[in-house]
Symmetry: D2
Subunit: 137 residues, 4 copies
């Protein structure tokens, strides 16, 4: 049973209290998330660190999956492939836009485009795979 | 000119103050790094979060490159591909062992095996690419 | 100087005589290619072999790049990451649709969606990187 | 039940008659394969084509898996990530050396190093994932 935007927001707040990435939209095999950028997310040269971008990609993918199969804590990332394309802006939030390309019984695969708010061209692109529990409802 | 272990440690401490990953060894196109694991690195289920593992892989790769070409702040990650293999232990440090497979004029490629201290089998494996400045010394 | 569809077709025919993949469209940082499927492209179970799909992805990416920077034989693939999503149809051509996500001075990165003609959902997705000659015209 | 070298050779000859890649060794979660290189495997510039290297990687991974779980035709590649490191020699066979990094109930993950016979440094490196049938013997 799919989970709604507010259900996913509540689940992430309860179970991933360290997560700062916000869920903006979910549904139709897609999601949009937004990561506020502050000093803790920057690296030398005044740019967003790679691990922050990878985290946003992973959250966007997880949210898109929960939006289809419901709150399934045991879904786990099995692979993530990220290409870093352009230097993100230092003072802009990062927006992640995910679209699932496959939602099978055991595996989900999706891509995530990452943007610095205010830049038209993406700063990174990720493809990730999640293993789904076999006995989910 | 290659950078030594202490030069790299000093560079990371000065330029990446948020980094908690320690450099244990570097040289001969390889590196070993160690990430202490505390509550901030865990996710629900008592395991190390994926982004922490990806961060360790990225640091290990960067350190191995600095160990060959010297302190070059402008080297940037262009891609990182991570496979998550097993659940890391909650109370054990993560050790990253990197070996460069190519060190070209413009690109460096390396692999990183990630281990939970105390487990023989790796918890993750990463392959990453760095773009190197063309006009480095 | 960008190369046209007919220039790219002539170049591939002359330089890659073994290539059976046809160029259908090129331009605006994109390409469409088509691979006829016959007995030589199938594997047991009556499906298109993975290497055929990877070849189509590689050609689509190369064509999209030539369409932007002109006929540059020395562009070489540096990485290719493919996710196989669904079983291709045995009797249908494979169509590859490529879009470049970055066209830098030294690196081009693009994604390719692969379809079995007649199926709406993609059979595979690839992300590839090409190294570009530094001294191209 | 693991398959032996001769069982795997017979299976490939019967089921994949187009395959020209030879199985040299298998066992202990590893395999070695060898691809003869002739005019059909070359591309302009006198080098081995990328798809040939990807095919060898895929075969090496498949063989290593069969060596552990037995002849399971339904194992299918779900992802393959290849980094091309150096130009292969035109007149030398390609040798693939695979090692499995995970052999789970549902997924197997392995890496493959690809060499031109006579060159010490690898020409490519691949990481691939296979989905395994859930109800295998």
């Amino acid at each position: 049973m799919p989970a709604s935007l507010t259900e996913i927001q509540a689940f992430l707040a309860a179970e991933f209290p360290q997560n700062r990435c916000q869920v903006v939209a979910v549904g139709e095999r897609a999601s949009t998330v937004r990561q506020p950028i502050g000093p803790g997310e920057l690296r030398p040269g005044g740019t967003v660190s790679g691990p922050v971008l990878m985290t946003v990609a992973d959250v966007a993918l997880y949210v898109a999956i929960l939006g289809e199969i419901g709150i399934v804590p045991l879904a786990v990332t099995t692979s993530l492939n990220v290409n870093f394309l352009r230097k993100p802006r230092a003072q802009a939030d990062i927006r992640g836009e995910c679209r699932l390309m496959k939602l099978g019984r055991r595996l989900a695969v999706g891509e995530v485009w990452l943007y610095s708010e205010g830049l038209a061209e993406p700063v990174a692109h990720a493809v990730g795979t999640y293993a789904l529990p076999a006995d989910r409802p």
